[in-house]
Subunit: 120 residues, 10 copies
Amino acid sequence: MSTEPTKELVTFPNPRIGREYTISIDTDEFTALCPVTGQPDFATINLDYIPDKLCVELKSLKLYFWSYRNEGAFHEDVTNRICDDITDALSPLYIKVTGDFNIRGGVHTVVTVEKDFRNK
Amino acid sequence: MSTEPTKELVTFPNPRIGREYTISIDTDEFTALCPVTGQPDFATINLDYIPDKLCVELKSLKLYFWSYRNEGAFHEDVTNRICDDITDALSPLYIKVTGDFNIRGGVHTVVTVEKDFRNK
Amino acid sequence: MSTEPTKELVTFPNPRIGREYTISIDTDEFTALCPVTGQPDFATINLDYIPDKLCVELKSLKLYFWSYRNEGAFHEDVTNRICDDITDALSPLYIKVTGDFNIRGGVHTVVTVEKDFRNK
Amino acid sequence: MSTEPTKELVTFPNPRIGREYTISIDTDEFTALCPVTGQPDFATINLDYIPDKLCVELKSLKLYFWSYRNEGAFHEDVTNRICDDITDALSPLYIKVTGDFNIRGGVHTVVTVEKDFRNK
Amino acid sequence: MSTEPTKELVTFPNPRIGREYTISIDTDEFTALCPVTGQPDFATINLDYIPDKLCVELKSLKLYFWSYRNEGAFHEDVTNRICDDITDALSPLYIKVTGDFNIRGGVHTVVTVEKDFRNK
Amino acid sequence: MSTEPTKELVTFPNPRIGREYTISIDTDEFTALCPVTGQPDFATINLDYIPDKLCVELKSLKLYFWSYRNEGAFHEDVTNRICDDITDALSPLYIKVTGDFNIRGGVHTVVTVEKDFRNK
Amino acid sequence: MSTEPTKELVTFPNPRIGREYTISIDTDEFTALCPVTGQPDFATINLDYIPDKLCVELKSLKLYFWSYRNEGAFHEDVTNRICDDITDALSPLYIKVTGDFNIRGGVHTVVTVEKDFRNK
Amino acid sequence: MSTEPTKELVTFPNPRIGREYTISIDTDEFTALCPVTGQPDFATINLDYIPDKLCVELKSLKLYFWSYRNEGAFHEDVTNRICDDITDALSPLYIKVTGDFNIRGGVHTVVTVEKDFRNK
Amino acid sequence: MSTEPTKELVTFPNPRIGREYTISIDTDEFTALCPVTGQPDFATINLDYIPDKLCVELKSLKLYFWSYRNEGAFHEDVTNRICDDITDALSPLYIKVTGDFNIRGGVHTVVTVEKDFRNK
Amino acid sequence: MSTEPTKELVTFPNPRIGREYTISIDTDEFTALCPVTGQPDFATINLDYIPDKLCVELKSLKLYFWSYRNEGAFHEDVTNRICDDITDALSPLYIKVTGDFNIRGGVHTVVTVEKDFRNK
């Protein structure tokens, strides 16, 4: 497996296809650059998903998060983008991504994106 | 962008129009004056909203909060006013504003205003 | 305004009549006397309410809590009584009062009274 | 009132018959004996109930908990028994009893019994 | 009873058959081997279940958890397997198993499997 | 023993005269009146002492704290007075009294008085 | 080894005689009876010691703590007694025993006994 | 007493002249302006002092902190200035002032100034 | 480098020989077997040391901790042994090892071994 | 002032030369690359110093921390390097730098470097 940062997410087959269960992954090691000032931003990213046929491989996910390290990213946009990329790779039954960004100017921001692909 | 306190809120286009997702912003740096005694009050303000076409720019929001620094403001009134001002500026699908005011006379007050503009 | 303990609650007009929003007030400075032993009891009181036409003035509420200082009060009874008195004064749309009483004999007691006057 | 441990629970009339409100009582001073090894077990007991006509007197409840001190009691069984005894004494509208037992062999156990006697 | 690690779960009759109540068991002493690197993994396992006719004996459950000590186990798979094994042994009315695995590479993973066998 | 508030402290003989050991007692149930406004003040009192020939009886100490309930007391003065009264009653080898007073006007005050009567 | 409560402490040879190191043991499962009221008291006991030739066996210590379960014990006295008993059994280089007793009448008591047998 | 912000500190005579004891005062309601950007800064201020002949009156201290609200103040400078002003007003035996400033640019700053005027 | 558990510790040259500074390493992933019952024990190990000429390589230290996984180890003995092994490998100026072992039978044990090889 | 990452630290004159006081600065936004794997490492850096003639400017310090973002850095080495660089720039009377690095392989590392240039 690659050890370079990459936007490509590696998957593996869900070991319990047909059962709805939840996988929650979080990291406090997300950093990107502010598109306005170019200075580093830091965030904790939380991912919850109910897999359908595929799960995301953890080291691959780590490389994916790493790939933002030298990119500019707005809070609202990047949280949506992470959600879309993981959705594209996994086609999960349900997904929620939360980006909890460090305080800037006394203001703390959390962006939460949730999509449910089940017939509810 | 201005660096003076102002009641005008700057917006930017929602990067994911059509998807319902939540933006949560909080600051523990809100201060106004007590309209009765003229002495400073302090609060933590929490804002949750689901954007429609517009998001609020963070630095602008900071200047907006700053604009209360030398104004008199009752707890119940100012929390409603913040909710109204942000609603006017963003026309969000949903908004909740919470003002958590520091203890006065052994009493701690929290005011919560919530408005849902979706067909529910 | 009086600075003596009193059971009379001072009100002011709700600044946003017609909108359902919540005012939460808590104090850890409630003390009464045990009706059995005459010894002091201590509690934290939490009040949540949705105002209709009236809000309760905070200093008045403080004087109201003070008025229990030299009265005997059973846990279950006094929590209901506070709820009734505030209801009588404000005619709120919704009210919840919680009395969280200090440990006595290794036992910790919390009494919660909730009334909803809306058509639900 | 007795100051000896006893399974008999003393009650007093509910001061607000006709209103559904909640009384929550907890103690971290529950101890019984393991029926297998005879060694002491320790637990925190939480009781929530909505009274109908009767409330349980706190000192009496303390003596009731004390009565388990030299009895053997399985976790699952004793939590159900406490719930049944209090139900028999009070005929409450609703009751929940939780027994949170200290770690044994690296394993922590919590048993929760809930009964709702209202027409829901 | 055996004091060797074993996948066989010992049960005992539910002392309150016919009542739906919850038994919650957790341990922070679960360890298995990473199937990829062969290195030890560590997790906290939480089990909630509503028993039907059988309960799981706690020491037996401890031996069951111990049985993973020298086995390879993927996070997603092992949490499902624990849920299946306990379901097979107890035929509970409801079961939830959560595996909260220690941070690896800055990433923290929690897997939650829930099954409800009641007519809901 | 009296069950009325009193400034008289009851003592009992130190069970280990000749050994220097520490007795720490704290209560969060101290209340007095503000000498300026007449309104209630609340504090947590901590007492550490090394007994010489006498220890203070706990129920007596509770009645002593109760005796301040309807007296005016400045923060700095009352903490010193408690220290002096206990010193007069016990003649301890060492004593420290801390009064931690509830927030007033956004300001939190702690007064600490310490006296060492040993030859150090 | 006995599984009955006993005041006799079992020891084993210090595996590193000649090196000063610290063994800290605590339990929140200590209970005795109040000598005045006969009602149960609960405490957390902390033991720190530097062994000389002997260490205390943990299960034996547990049985020792258990032996107080049906005995009357004043806070100050029992903490000293535990210190003396362990000192008699181990002849340690240093010992500290802390008894942290549950709140009674709003008052929380901690007794700390420390003895250093080294030439300091 | 004035209710306007002022740099003048009101004092009262130490009620226990001759005894060294400590008065600790903290507020999380300190705000000033950044001298570079003009934007508001927020801090928690802690003051510890051992009084000699004078103590500082609490409401006066609150007005003193208020006086910085519309002044520019560098972190390092303002903490020293507060220490000097209180020293000038009280001539204490010992003083320590800590300014704990809110995060700016991901960086959190605490400045601590301590002066001991006793012959040590 | 090996990826098998091993008692051999790999070192690297201290990058600042001649300066006394502290390296603190902790893991909550230590497990061994109880020499009496053969059942797994779990601990958190903390290591503080001041290096002289050598530092311990982190992955090697992880493999070293892993090497205890299938060995019997008494609390007091294993903590001393870890201290001795690291001392032998590094010849540090100062070392402290703490083993904080999970609760067994309601009793929690912490063993602390400290050695200072500097001329103090 | 530059807004690019740089190893050059900007200083300003100490506003209270001659007084020993402490400036503490911490950031949880430090990231560098692992020199072995090239993958990102994350740390919290704490800096305490007593200034002599110079203080470090906060934005400059932020740019300095940023300058490590794309450099390889061993835990032990980089903490010493930060200490040396700040010492070179400020010639402080005292300095302590702590690097608290995120868990890798279940192991958590903290490096602390302290230098005192005063005649002690």
